[in-house]
Symmetry: C2
Subunit: 255 residues, 2 copies
């Protein structure tokens, strides 16, 4: 049976304020926990469902975790309701300590993907995963984006949270202004911009994608160029993660 204090700790991490206070988040599943161990993340502890501890994949994780001196706790089936984040608990979770990022962490020789007011955790996670796929690891979030350490976001990144640099701004407009003074250019994806095919990718571009309901805020749009993914049908707009995928592919692959 799982210790009370461990249960309590995990439960607190379901809330954003405690994730922030402890600088910790939860990742579930073999792939997620395995990815954390492989990426040298700072794993605080791992919880494994008692009856799954003989599974081949879980045995491998146990071995690796023991080698790294990471605490492992075992839980009974009746503990699961108290700790799970997904509907069907995949038998394993890890609590990860994260280090706070600063804006400088995402300043390098690659463009920046900026999200303005993206509220859906699945969309945020999918965009992080897509950015990782295309080798574009610099992600800048506006102050009002959904928390990146939200369990749904973490899950949707499919492990890419460990391969990308993500900085959540306290004031996105002022951060972007500063960046444009340091030679960055703003490229916003809007409904009324130039055709995306005209876009010339540059390594000092910041590509900004807005929320589904309101798009990129006008203060940001006015800082630079705007482009649109041309459509032919009846849909009013594209999902923001799909838009980001199309633009990131264009930046990286060109054709």
């Amino acid at each position: 049976m799982l210790k009370r204090n461990i249960k309590k700790h995990i439960n607190k991490l379901h809330q954003k304020k405690y994730r922030k206070e402890y600088a910790e988040f939860i990742i579930e599943g073999i792939k997620g926990v395995g990815g954390a161990l492989e990426s040298n993340s700072n794993v605080n502890f791992i919880v494994i469902e008692e009856k799954k501890k003989e599974d081949k994949n879980i045995l491998e994780i146990i071995k690796k975790a023991e080698g790294l001196n990471i605490e492992i706790h075992y839980c009974a089936q009746k503990d699961i309701g108290d700790i799970k984040t997904t509907e069907t608990f995949p038998g394993i979770l890890a609590v990860i300590k994260y280090s706070k990022t600063v804006l400088l962490d995402i300043i390098n020789d690659k463009p920046i993907i900026c999200l303005d007011s993206v509220k859906d955790p699945g969309n945020l996670g999918t965009i992080i995963r897509t950015a990782d796929w295309f080798g574009l690891p610099n992600i800048l979030l506006s102050e009002n984006c959904v928390d990146v350490y939200n369990e749904k976001t973490v899950r949707s990144t499919m492990g890419s949270i460990f391969h990308t640099g993500i900085y959540q701004s306290q004031d996105i407009v002022s951060d972007l202004k500063n960046l444009t003074q340091k030679d960055y250019s703003i490229v916003s994806l809007t409904m009324d911009g130039e055709n995306l095919k005209e876009l010339q990718p540059k390594k000092n571009n910041i590509y900004v994608f807005g929320s589904e309901s309101h798009g990129v805020r006008s203060e940001i749009i006015e800082m630079g160029e705007r482009y649109t993914i041309p459509g032919k049908g009846n849909a009013e707009s594209l999902n923001v993660a799909v838009s980001a995928g199309i633009v990131l592919k264009k930046i990286v692959v060109q054709k």
Copy 2:
């Protein structure tokens, strides 16, 4: 207060078997219900939250629905728990009658988007929305895809369910075999295909996207060509809706 039989009817439609039996599904929200009315869908009835009936957008819907002789029921706040499909009920829903499609309905002069074993309702809905955006309205689902009339799927289509032709196969392998004998070619998106940039879009192509966990089944892959979206980073794969977006954009826009 909402009549008991209406509540019961709506509740049944939360289950796939009743959606199939009645050939009906639920759509929530002003955009969804508005879209249904505009697209001349067969609306069985509409339910509106009593206290929202003076809202400007809802008043417009009421007017339009009355013009079309569509039944409107009003519900009290305490009814909502019994009927809602989303966490926060947006004040309005409609029950739509759908007509069963056949394979022939998606055979025309445009390519077909085929989904093999896509289980996530959000991904299915997002792909339908994306296909609609790019003017590619022919969608073919394998027998084991998630139900297209699932409430989450319907919601993620953002109204595009009314602008696309969707046929769910009873036996996808045999349907695809038949189509290849009728001059269609199969193009599967896989992890080990040719670079997507080599793809020559043709109007008689069927583009097949597989489930996130297993990809396109090998029986289908073997029927035609395979292509891959080239990546550079660490992510193992792309989300299927993002992949579909990138490919559909390539088919339609080329550059």
